[in-house]
Symmetry: C2
Subunit: 758 residues, 2 copies
């Protein structure tokens, strides 16, 4: 049976669209004037010797962004979007990524080969430079990798009478590759986006504009004498081996083709171990897309690939493929508005028929039906091709201005919401920040559970799991459990000689009342043992009457079966972020407030403060928008103000009593001003608990006093496991402290050592 027949035998509910995808995108670093960057690859990125996501291709300034394997085109683009975000903020703010396949105006001598550590790789690039010329190597593009879904292949295999799965898959991929090469003009026609070459790129005159120089023989192609057969896999393998043996090619990867077989280290292994996936290499960068390829392109190509599987195999493969090559050359070098040549129009009928049959047989829905309609429409109307859409932007045979404007706009976008990871904004901020750093450092990542903020990170065989940004293997199991229990925490700290509020825990009203004599002259706090949302807390800054004390107990007992009565500690509360025995940051949080300037109303001051890009809603930004709702207005009224009053110069009004960030408070990074004696004391507390990542809340009445274990001049009111990190990094005031990179450095110390290599 033919593959087409197998496909037709599948049930309509078979997972025809099941596949894995990966995208590689090359893009040149240029400066803000559109000149090739002469700077080295950013040193803040993990070394290229191991970085799985951000490499350089041929040149030092030619970045290559590589996604991990994704289960859908959407996910692949999402991953590429995140890697792009990291790349955009890792390169200098004076640099942008060139959005076109064809480079800006360049001189050959400007092109420096990538300064890689690996000697073979450097040698290889020098060889390519000499053989093909450096300018050619600067052409960039997108490689679209695809693996047919496991269940889909299994279903086809079951329908067949084959017994060897590896051979069966090889046959599928061979057919796919054959038809892809045969019909590669379709990709060139629909998605070609290299209509011009900037002045000086070509030594000779070339017709312009075209659809795609890159996809023509003007692009980087092997020398004409390199002819590899796709008739069968054995020939493919041995043809390339022969070229290498003869010195016509230096390595298997020097064979440039619109499609390559992938999945084994050496081609010969395909024969017994099998092809795993295909690499489609003929996609020009789409400058209208920040990541270089659109969702509809990805999905249209997916359908086309399936159509190529559906269509009959060519007979006389190499002959037909040669014809396909010629047709592609013609279409690639045609004016974008030129209609398809007759030969191509004839082939569109088969292709459209295959697409329609696929949609019909497998009951594909509106989205895919619309994609097919668009393909049909574009076949008939060249104005709808990508290259045609670029025509209006060509000025004086140049796309430089257009390209630079796009690049600058995309760079600006990367720098907005710089606390977030583009595409992952629904995850917790601290996890977004950690993912950003992981991608930057070149640590492999997989999001095991997005809702749970559960990550798998690894470098070679070293695997770490991280939840909520800092719940890691570096902490042991029982210490966070101890920190979750206030009574246990206080006992442990007190036993170790650290200052905690005096007090006791009670499990009944009677017990609580019996304590009254010991606290009747003191400032106290009465609270439920587990204070969720701050409910049920009573604070007596004046000693409490027995009656009020009882009321406070009752209020607390309504929230929990255990209640704590502690001395009230006056002073200012600070959060110390302790990591691995060292204080990394100290934060002061103050209630939502504005400070007057004698000119503006409170309403205007609030609006102005809310304009800070760090302020947003619902914990997806480091600070919250300050509201002017009932609570805030009541608070203002209690201070004698309405929102429309002008606030005197220098006068501060609080809009909330509590200092939570979530109700519009300010976070103030005081790391550099907080005396180190407090930082060391807080670190010692975390260490005595045995905690690796810990938020220590200290009340400090007078910061000017030097703290010591014997005379702490502070009290620890709480230890927090899984402490927030973003609030220390992106603050309303103060420089902010980076913490997530340190988490990763400590999880993967081996990478810190590698950092200085290239």
């Amino acid at each position: 049976m033919t593959i087409n027949q197998l496909l037709q035998k599948l049930e309509s509910t078979s997972p025809i669209l099941q596949a894995n995808f990966g995208i590689e995108r090359e893009s040149l670093r240029v400066d803000r004037q559109g000149q090739l960057a002469q700077t080295p690859h950013p040193s803040c990125l993990g070394a290229r010797s191991f970085h799985p996501y951000i490499q350089t291709d041929f040149c030092e300034f030619q970045m290559e962004l590589i996604t991990p394997v994704a289960k859908s085109t959407t996910e692949a683009r999402r991953l590429l979007g995140a890697i792009t975000d990291v790349t955009g903020r890792s390169i200098s703010q004076d640099e942008v990524l060139w959005p076109l396949s064809m480079p800006p105006r360049i001189k050959a001598q400007e092109i420096q080969v990538a300064q890689l550590e690996n000697e073979f790789e450097r040698h290889y690039r020098n060889y390519l430079a000499e053989k093909y010329g450096t300018k050619l190597q600067a052409i960039s593009g997108i490689h679209y990798n695809m693996e047919l879904g496991k269940d889909l292949v299994e279903a086809l295999f079951q329908e067949s009478d084959q017994t060897d799965m590896i051979a069966f898959k090889n046959a599928l991929y061979l057919k796919l590759a054959q038809n892809y090469l045969r019909y590669r003009w379709v990709i060139t026609y629909l998605f070609g986006a290299a209509p011009i070459a900037e002045q000086g790129f070509f030594d000779q005159e070339v017709p312009e504009p075209v659809r795609s120089f890159r996809n023509s023989d003007h692009g980087y192609v092997n020398k004409e004498e390199i002819q590899v057969s796709f008739d069968n896999l054995e020939d493919y393998v041995s043809d390339i081996e022969t070229y290498i043996a003869n010195g016509d090619l230096i390595a298997e990867k020097e064979f440039y083709s619109a499609v390559r077989f992938r999945g084994q280290k050496a081609n010969r292994s395909f024969l017994d171990k099998g092809i795993t996936y295909l690499e489609f290499r003929n996609f020009d960068l789409n400058p209208f897309e920040r990541i270089g390829i659109s969702q509809t392109t990805m999905d249209t190509v997916h359908l086309l690939i399936l159509a190529f599987l559906w269509l009959d195999s060519p007979e006389n493969v190499d002959q037909v493929l040669a014809q396909g090559h010629a047709l592609n050359e013609k279409i690639a070098l045609s004016h974008p508005l030129e209609p398809l040549p007759d030969q191509a129009m004839t082939e569109t009928k088969d292709i459209i028929k295959a697409l329609d049959q696929l949609v019909q047989h497998f009951g594909l829905g509106d989205y895919h039906q619309d994609l097919v309609k668009q393909v049909k429409a574009t076949f008939a109307d060249p104005k709808q091709t990508l290259s045609a859409q670029l025509l209006p932007y060509i000025k004086d045979k140049s796309l430089a201005d257009f390209a630079l404007n796009k690049a600058l706009a995309y760079q600006d976008y990367d720098w907005t919401a710089h606390y977030a990871l583009k595409g992952y904004e629904e995850m917790e901020l601290s996890t977004q920040m950690l993912l950003f750093d992981a991608i930057q450092k070149g640590i492999n990542f997989d999001i095991l559970d997005e809702q749970d903020q559960f990550l798998k990170l690894w470098h070679k065989d070293h695997v770490e799991y991280v939840k909520n940004g800092n719940m890691t293997s570096k902490d042991n199991y029982v210490v966070p459990l101890a920190m979750a229990n206030k009574t246990v925490t206080k006992k442990i700290l007190a036993d170790a000689g650290f200052p905690v509020p005096a007090g006791d825990e009670f499990t009944s009203l009677e017990q609580g009342l019996a304590y009254y004599p010991l606290i009747k002259n003191k400032q106290i706090v009465v609270k439920p043992k587990s204070t969720n949302f701050g409910l049920g807390i009573s604070i007596f800054q004046e000693p409490a009457s027995l009656e009020n004390y009882q009321k406070a107990l009752e209020i607390a007992f309504a929230e929990d079966t255990a209640v704590l009565v502690e001395e009230f500690i006056p002073g200012t509360e600070y959060r110390f972020f302790i990591l691995d025995g060292h204080c990394e940051a100290v934060l002061l949080r103050v209630a939502a407030n504005v400070v007057g300037d004698g000119k503006h109303t409170i309403r205007e001051l609030v609006a102005h403060k809310n304009a800070n890009p760090l302020r947003g809603h619902d914990h997806r930004s480091p600070l919250e928008i300050i509201a002017l709702g009932d609570i805030e207005q009541l608070m203002l009224a209690q201070q004698g103000y309405t929102p429309d009053d002008i606030l005197p110069d220098g006068e501060k009004v609080n809009l909330r009593r509590n200092s939570n960030i979530s109700t519009g408070g300010d976070s103030i990074d005081v790391t550099e001003t907080m005396d180190s004696s407090y930082q060391e004391l807080a670190a010692a507390m975390a260490t005595s608990m045995g905690a690796w990542a810990c938020g220590v809340d200290l009340i400090i009445p007078d910061e000017t006093q030097i703290a010591s274990k014997e005379n702490p001049h502070c009290t620890c009111i709480e230890l927090n496991f899984n402490p927030s990190m973003y609030m220390h990094t992106y603050c309303a005031e103060g420089p902010g402290q980076a913490i997530t990179p340190k988490i990763l450095d400590k999880l993967f110390p081996e990478l810190v050592a590698l950092k200085h290599q290239n």
Copy 2:
């Protein structure tokens, strides 16, 4: 000001009763015939070189049980009760603890000194044996340790004009000791319980019965020439030092007194570093109490001690104390029913007055008032003394039968509910078991939070925290978090090549429905992602119609925002308990059931099964009582039975569908029959997660198949952090496997090495 005046100046709400307590109890091991045990100290107990709770005193068979410091008399007795429980089940089941101070009939040559590792200690005991005689050393008793409360002492100090707290406390304790010795006859009178000596104990004739041989000069007292002054602390210290210098005493602890100062290694240190607490040594074992001292005795003595603080200091201390010694001697050797001599009656007035004033001044409640009333009544009526209560049991000048009966009854009691720790039955079973083992092994413990099952364990400087029995520092923080998330767990296991149910997770009905084609011909389970209480689960052993599948999704989505659809795995479910990479136990749980014998009704069979002492209510016993409620009766009806039907021989009926222990199911220990290949595979799964303590749930369709990674013949449906331990140890069928001792051995490997020393 005198101490009495300071007390009178305190507010009535002062914490007069605040104090720390510790109890030491000596008790002889005897066999079930009442003969001294000739066996060594139990080897299952941690070595005496470090054991904080269970030691031997003079003789190898003379056990000494020592509580840690407690904040109340109730807590001290609770701790002693637990240590007694452990002791009772650590000695041979052929042995019991002699409940009297005076030993059973013994021959001197039977008495072997304690075979301790410490050379000085062995030498010391041999010296004592020679000097005082071994029989005397076999007398046992209770030492009552007490430290006045910190806030109480602080309050008294504040009222005084003293500036040196150490000197102030020394003065308090010196006064206390003086009055205690002066009035020690009170303790002898009220609580003496050594009325006879068994035949052969004394070489000479002695009058019998008396109140307390132990508290007379017939007990173990120093030689007459040892006279230490209590006039002032300096004299106390130097008198003892002089005796040691002269060789009249070999060590400071050889000074026997009804009261000793404690808290420093050497007496001289009391002078500058201070006395911390007092040791009252004159309490005979109370044979009517399993732990040797009653709650009312503890609390009465507490009040008496406070009265001794209240009463004036003696003038001419040593002279008054000598008179007190003589009075005590007289009262100790009087017949139990003899009224107090006049001198004593006179002193009772002062004592009762002091007690009344204490009660009045500090507003002590009914409980303490009743204690004082009882003291008064007993002063007037010797029949109410403890020694008088023993009179009826003396037969032929012997208490041997009485003592042996008590000992056997107490031993029986220690062996009931042997899965629990007496006094701590409200804690979770696994924690009770861990505490039992910790006490047995000699690991220090402190319950930091009883409701939270939070323990602190330590040996020397090595501290471990344990929650819920096996949440320890040996697990890292993130692995249990991974195990709590079924999706993450499945991904990690699947990535590592272990067999998990195929399936997927959905966060919307649409997503779930789109999955239907892939599962429509399969047996599936639809369940909420977090299955609390087993709600919302649908099992389709026949493939589901789309309609029913949708209903199942809706049911699951009512319980959680994420739903799992997995293949249904047929087979039997087993729980594998993995610890540190090794499988310690395998458990099969089956639904509540009875098996017929052709004679008894189902009701009778249930009653018989419920008679198993392991069955109780509410998770405080390893198995649950099987109910015959509506659910069970419905289940019976569905099988055609009522509770009053006779069940045919060999016929099994289930009373519940689910196999939970909590609804009366049986736990069956199959560790020894489950093929090791499954045990190793389960252990490998836990190890690949990185878990130290883990419960692995495997479905095994056919146990007779050998499992391997490549052909597992089983599926892992869940990994459990904090897995239950008690259910593996105390089973309805099968031997049961001890797990908690292994937890401790792994937390404290240094103790395993020490185990074979003595």
